[in-house]
């Protein structure tokens, strides 16, 4: 009899063991009621308890992924750019709060004609190696960037870059380029010392620029260290944090716990499931940024049934974005109804489609096809996208469209995106400005995504915009393009990403941009 109970007893023991461990760790158990989520964005509250340790001048930041490069031209990754912003400057800087271009290494600039620009450099700017910045460095840096294939869309328009004298640079473009200032603020065009370019320096292992921090060491897989650069040229943006350290912690819950334990001071990206917890922690401040990065459902409008506008509109009407944000993002996202994110000066959500199953059914009828013949195969490259697709699968069953979901690693995903077999994918995009954004509606895009849309009228609109130098007129054109593409429903917008960063409450003046970067220059304890 004793033995017959053994399985039961073992099970009981095992459950008890789990319980004990949970209780010891002070978690789990009967967490029946969760606090209602607080969706008001937090403001950097300087007076919270657990404030600044007196005299602290170092900062440890937990990143999710390690950047591959610290150099400017070898990559186009968010983390890499964030690192570049520490050690380098461009002629132009994109202000993190306004997202507009302001002068950085350039003191002033003039536009001499549609094609010619002249930049005056600041005097007395020093590189980390002690050399002084000259116009020759600028010309050499941009020419160096042009040798990298990946930089083409940011450097390709510049036909000639000349040093007129030691602090004047003239840039001649091959066609009118209203986007030039943004291009110059992009990391590919950051300025490196000419002497090091010529000597073949490895800028990833030895990143020398003019930036507010100097590189100290990089312990691969572990940490990257920087120290403040005393000779920084811009007094108003001189680093207050003396020692800046980045550590790599891939798992979201570990990042949160490191912050709670005080092992790190700043978490670059907070897992959405931990936001409520951190907000209720007084020693931690959570920053929320509604970004311009938006997620949308990309549809093959060339070789599938989705070339029919009515069918696309039916899909757009059948998707409940609120549910997607609640279900796949724990409520932390902004439902999106426009092809171009809200948040740019030109943004508009006119002509878009909100959730309405009845209208979706009307458009299905207008399309007139048999829904059982259509399979929407969505490819996804990570768990969040799969969760979104899973919710869509359920929602689209209401109008009879069968959804299959294919999660794959990103290498396979990117290759699939470059084929015409692709039916649909969940895609995200976060360009620096609306003008870059609407380039997506030009058929040249099909070089990269051959299943993408092509429309002669849209091509005309985009081309006209690209050569319009007058800012006011261009804004109107961009809005026309946005309205038109919302109306044609080339793809289905889903949500705008919200970035969540968290830091010790004592850290002040934290600026996070809607394009995904953090300004470490302005921070202080």
């Amino acid at each position: 009899m004793k033995k017959s109970l053994s399985l039961k007893r073992c099970a009981a023991f095992l459950l008890a063991a789990c319980m004990v461990l949970s209780l010891l760790a002070g978690c789990g158990g009967g967490g029946g009621e969760k606090e209602p989520s607080n969706s008001t964005p937090s403001t950097g509250n300087p007076d919270a308890s657990g404030g600044a340790p007196a005299g602290k001048d170092s900062l440890t930041v937990a990143l999710t992924d390690e950047p591959d490069y610290l150099s400017t031209c070898d990559h186009d990754s968010l983390m890499g750019v964030q690192m570049n912003l520490l050690t380098y400057n461009g002629l132009i800087r994109i202000d993190m709060e306004t997202l507009s271009p302001v002068c950085d290494l350039a003191e002033s600039y003039t536009q001499d004609s549609d094609l010619e620009w002249t930049f005056k450099l600041r005097e007395g700017v020093k590189f980390h190696n002690g050399e002084e910045l000259t116009a020759a460095d600028v010309a050499a840096s941009i020419q160096y960037a042009q040798t990298f294939a990946a930089s083409a869309i940011y450097t390709g328009s510049m036909e000639k870059v000349e040093a007129l004298d030691s602090n004047t640079v003239k840039i001649t473009t091959s066609a009118p380029t209203p986007n030039l200032l943004f291009d110059l603020g992009y990391h590919f065009n950051f300025i490196l010392p000419k002497s090091l370019i010529d000597s073949g320096n490895d800028f990833s292992a030895n990143p020398v620029g003019t930036g507010p921090w100097k590189f100290v060491s990089w312990d691969k897989g572990n940490s990257i260290q920087f120290e403040a650069f005393d000779g920084y040229f811009d007094a108003s943006r001189k680093a207050a944090i003396q020692n800046l350290e980045f550590v790599m912690i891939p798992e979201g819950s570990t990042r949160t716990m490191s912050l709670e334990a005080g092992d790190v001071d700043f978490v670059y990206s907070v897992a959405s499931s931990d936001i409520d917890r951190l907000r209720s922690d007084e020693s931690v401040t959570v920053e929320q940024v509604v970004s311009v990065e938006n997620f949308f459902l990309f549809l093959n409008t060339v070789t599938t049934a989705f070339e029919d506008e009515n069918l696309r509109k039916a899909v757009a009407y059948a998707i409940n974005r609120e549910d997607i944000v609640a279900g796949a993002l724990n409520g932390y996202g902004t439902p999106s109804y426009s092809c171009v994110s809200m948040g740019y000066a030109e943004s508009t959500d006119e002509g878009s489609y909100t959730y309405d199953v009845d209208k979706a059914k009307e458009y299905m009828a207008a399309w007139g096809g048999d829904p059982s013949t259509v399979t929407l195969d969505i490819i996804c490259s990570n768990a969040t996208k799969t969760a979104i697709a899973t919710i869509m699968q359920n929602q689209l069953s209401a109008i009879g469209i069968n959804v299959t979901i294919n999660e794959m690693d990103s290498a396979t995903y990117q290759e699939q995106m470059r084929t015409t077999d692709l039916v649909s994918a969940i895609v995200s995009w976060s360009p620096a400005n609306a003008m870059t954004y609407v380039q997506r509606f030009h058929s040249t895009r099909r070089q990269n995504t051959p299943a993408g849309m092509a429309d002669a009228h849209m091509d005309e609109l985009v081309e006209e915009m690209n050569t319009t130098m007058d800012a006011g007129a261009r804004t109107g054109m961009i809005q026309t393009i946005i309205r038109e593409s919302n109306d044609r429903c080339w793809f289905v917008p889903i949500y705008q990403v919200n970035y969540f960063r968290a830091h010790a409450a004592g850290l002040q003046n934290v600026v996070c941009s809607a394009t995904g970067y953090v300004d470490f220059c302005t921070m202080h304890w």
Binding site: K2, C10, L14, A205, S253, D263, N448
Partner: protein, 308 residues
């Protein structure tokens, strides 16, 4: 004996050849295009083709493989596609961490598993047996990230004994080693139990009892020694596997080991890094297996005839 070891080391050559060949072709069969990944979504087809040419990816596969082998013979593992550094440097940066974690975790799991296994065998079919087997099984079936989070909450947040992440201080290794060791304990404990049960039934054990030896002496000196063979195999396999990196443990504790690097390299289609990891892994595995086979001979004299 030395000749046997020499022979075994020679056998590593065909294994290495087989592994590199297999992995090389697997990496090329796998979907996904390195050049497209490096250049990002804005790149055009021509740019991709140009980069592929630069990287030598447009040459015939066999030529590429031959070039790789040539490099390998000179001790050159190539340069990473994604970060441009030498693969040797990349691996050398994280392999010591992996070895450290694997060895400490192996010690943890052996220390936990051997007593449990022996106890269970000696007290076969009693509650002691059942409870110790359940404990060992919790490890294999518990979600490791749950165990890890619980350990961090208790030992780092509540008690403040160990750091939450990374490998910065000497005591950083404690939590990852415990969770990894706990996870690998089951197969060692269960194998020990079952081979001990088997051994305890042998005639010579009965003889030993008849001679009036104490139970402890019999279990440790006679049964344990003779029942070790399968246990050693399993311990060897576990260490070998852990040397290949424990992806989940490394991820949760932000431990800078080989496992995570290799998964990243696989996902980034960084063939040279993947190949480098695999070569290293294979050499480690072969050495662990060699040591296991040598230990067979130490433990069981009958097997020694193999070493010729």
């Amino acid at each position: 004996m030395l000749r046997y070891i020499g022979k075994r080391i020679l056998y590593m050559i065909p294994v290495l050849l087989g592994v590199t060949l297999l992995v090389f072709f697997i990496m090329h069969l796998a979907p996904g295009n390195v050049a497209a990944m490096i250049l990002g979504e804005n790149a055009t087809a021509e740019q991709i083709a140009e980069l592929e040419h630069e990287m030598g990816l447009d040459r015939p596969l066999l030529a590429q493989y031959a070039a790789y082998l040539g490099g390998l013979l000179r001790g050159d593992l190539g340069t990473s596609y994604t970060s441009g550094e030498s693969v040797t440097a990349k691996i050398m940066a994280c392999f010591p961490y992996t070895v450290r974690l694997a060895l400490v975790a192996a010690v943890v799991s052996v220390l936990l598993a051997l007593p449990l296994g022996i106890l269970a065998a000696v007290k076969q079919n009693t509650w002691v047996d059942n409870v110790s087997m359940v404990i060992s099984l919790i490890g294999v079936s518990m979600p490791i990230f749950w165990l890890a989070v619980m350990l961090i909450l208790l030992f780092s947040l509540k008690l403040g004994w160990f750091p939450v992440y990374g490998a910065k201080s000497w005591n950083s290794i404690v939590l990852p080693a415990i969770s990894l060791g706990f996870m690998n304990m089951a197969s060692i404990a269960r194998t020990t139990r079952s081979s001990m049960v088997e051994t305890l039934r042998q005639d010579y054990i009965r003889t030993a009892y008849a001679k009036g030896l104490s139970k402890g002496a019999i279990v440790i000196r006679h049964a344990f020694r003779n029942g070790m063979l399968p246990t050693i195999t399993v311990i060897g396999l576990e260490i070998g596997q852990m040397l290949g990196g424990a992806v989940l443990t490394e991820t949760v504790f932000a431990w800078p080991g080989v496992g995570r690097m290799m998964i990243q390299a696989i996902n980034g289609r960084d063939t040279p890094t993947v190949m480098g990891c695999i070569v290293l892994l294979t050499v480690c595995f072969s050495f662990v297996n060699l040591i296991v086979d040598l230990l067979y001979g130490v433990v069981d004299p009958r097997v020694r005839t193999m070493y010729r």
